[in-house]
């Protein structure tokens, strides 16, 4: 990442409201051409960060550099605002036709009428809504309206596009199609993008990097694999879908691994830790294997337990099994496997997971 050029560099920025800090970003570099997703619960500060980066929210302290130039300077600021844009959760279309909506940003930029027509058609085509060009914005479906809003933003050919939960008001199939089209268009146009979302699935599909936010701060930033597999704390772990989070103490050490006692159960974890370290163990549900009956010995997994199913929750194409092994653990099972094993609440099952599938966070005091 360091060899890439930062298009936007945030240094010690703070946003206060009524004297209370609502956003505090000591350092954040956004690389040219990357797609960075901001994930976090509601009121984590994602929208405020986007507004601030888009130049629509005053900062109380700190500096933002765009291609090395500080946008705090008035002379740079307006030019910067014209080189970036933002799309909101609501499509916020004007009460006119689709054509006029997409043309509006270009008119604001003072682009000539002939060029406007070409650009509007180009971006409506890219978003697959050229056939709606003459339609009134009032008559669009949610998906069509958000496509128009995105086309309007892309038509001005921004260097950075900020997307504030643009899919959250759409139904699932519409959202799927739009996410895939947006990913393609971002790739084709090589536009840098910062996407705020509270759904990690959206972020995972689009982003090069994820930033997890909480209480106006970035708690962790990294590639999706880093954040998902190596969360820095319990909050990140649970937010990125780690269903099993266990507290324990390191009681034994071996070469390349250590043993953690969780409710008197020994769990082997790959890695290094010191004896008596208090650790948080994160086990993702997709890494937990479940079989019917007693614990299987026919597995390379170092952790094998017997447990009882206490709850089965459907979760789309899979089911979520809540199992009590003396400690709670959650596993995913396909709908097909659930049926073929004819598992039900109260059944005894064998649970296994690899020592390398556990991420241990050593508690710091």
């Amino acid at each position: 990442m360091s060899c890439k050029q930062a298009i936007l560099d945030v240094q010690n920025v703070e946003v206060n409201r009524g004297g209370v800090p609502v956003l505090s970003i000591p350092q954040l570099a956004i690389m040219k051409g990357e797609i960075l997703s901001l994930i976090g619960p509601n009121a984590a500060g994602k929208s405020t960060l986007l507004l601030m980066l888009a130049g629509l929210q005053k900062i109380s302290r700190g500096k933002i550099f765009f291609n090395g130039q500080s946008i705090n300077e008035k002379s740079v600021f307006f030019d910067y605002r014209r080189r970036v844009t933002m799309v909101f959760q609501e499509s916020l279309l004007f009460d006119t036709t689709v054509y006029e909506n997409v043309a509006s940003g270009l008119k604001i930029h003072g682009i000539k009428q002939r060029e406007i027509r070409l650009r509007v058609e180009e971006y409506l085509e890219r978003f697959g809504i050229l056939h709606l060009i003459r339609r009134s914005a009032r008559k669009l479906s949610g998906g069509e309206a958000q496509r128009t809003s995105l086309a309007r933003a892309f038509a001005i050919r921004p260097e950075i596009i900020f997307l504030d939960e643009p899919f959250s008001s759409l139904d699932a199939p519409t959202k799927e199609l739009l996410i895939s089209d947006l990913g393609r268009i971002l790739g084709e146009t090589k536009t840098t993008a910062v996407l705020a979302t509270h759904e990690q699935s959206e972020a995972l599909r689009l982003s090069d990097r994820l930033a997890v936010m909480k209480n106006g701060r970035i708690v962790q930033i990294g590639t999706p694999t880093e954040v998902i597999n190596y969360p820095v704390d319990e909050f990140v772990a649970s937010f990125v879908g780690t269903e099993t989070i266990l507290m324990g103490v390191v009681k034994e050490k071996e070469a390349g691994s250590f043993i953690v006692f969780v409710n008197d159960h020994k769990i082997e974890v790959a890695g290094t830790a010191n004896l008596k370290d208090e650790v948080i163990l994160c086990i993702r549900p997709e890494n937990v294997m479940v079989s019917k009956g007693i614990a299987s010995t026919n597995t390379s997994a170092r952790n094998n337990f017997r447990g009882k199913i206490i709850k089965i929750n459907p979760a789309g194409f899979i089911h979520k099994l809540h199992i009590d092994c003396g400690f709670p653990i959650v596993a995913f099972i396909t709908n097909h496997s659930l049926e073929s094993l004819s598992l039900k609440t109260g059944d005894d099952v064998a649970v296994s997971f690899k020592a390398t599938a556990i991420h241990a966070i050593i508690k710091k005091f």
Partner: protein, 232 residues
Amino acid sequence: MDLIVEGISKAFYLLFTFDKEVFAVTWLSLKVSGIATLISLFIGISAATIVSLTRFPGRKMVISLINMGMGLPPVVVGLFVMILFWRNGPLGFMEMLYTPMAMVIAQAVIATPIVTGISLAALQSLPKDLHLQILALGATRFQMIWILLKESRLPLLAAVMAGFGSVISEVGASIMVGGNIKGSSRVLTTATVMETSRGNFDIAIALSIILLLLIFIINFILTCIQQHERPR
């Protein structure tokens, strides 16, 4: 009944014979109320834009005052404008009392809160983040305001109709600050009051019909513009 029939026939007679005095009175009514409405639009829309886009202490109080002003009694406005321009009043040196200019000012005072209130409601009914979206498309603050006003154009036309309607039909302030002087400050409403008090009901009815026709024609034109603009 005869009185009404007589009044209506008199109205058409005055209209079709192009009665000079009636036309002078009608033209002055249009001019005074038209200018007053234009002034109120300028002040009202500007004030509504500021109030809707900014946050400041006492904002709720300002909005309450605007809403209260929508029901401002014309006689009270007339009284204060009269005191203002009275010979010994603060602006007495301008010698504007009993002139159409004083009537324009009084009518503008009546129409401004109405225009401001309706414009404010129109701007506040726009989506919350629309102004940010416009800025995010690269707009200057001026461009942003212009686009917001364009987005509110239909309710803003209603503000024009309400503002004009309130002043063309008011009589209290006009008679107090204009004085109903023949050939100078006599408008349709003040002339109607005078003719009624004189017992000339036929002329009073005729003037009333002309006033109603005027209001109808102007509102019809504005309604046509409004409904034509409305996307189907």
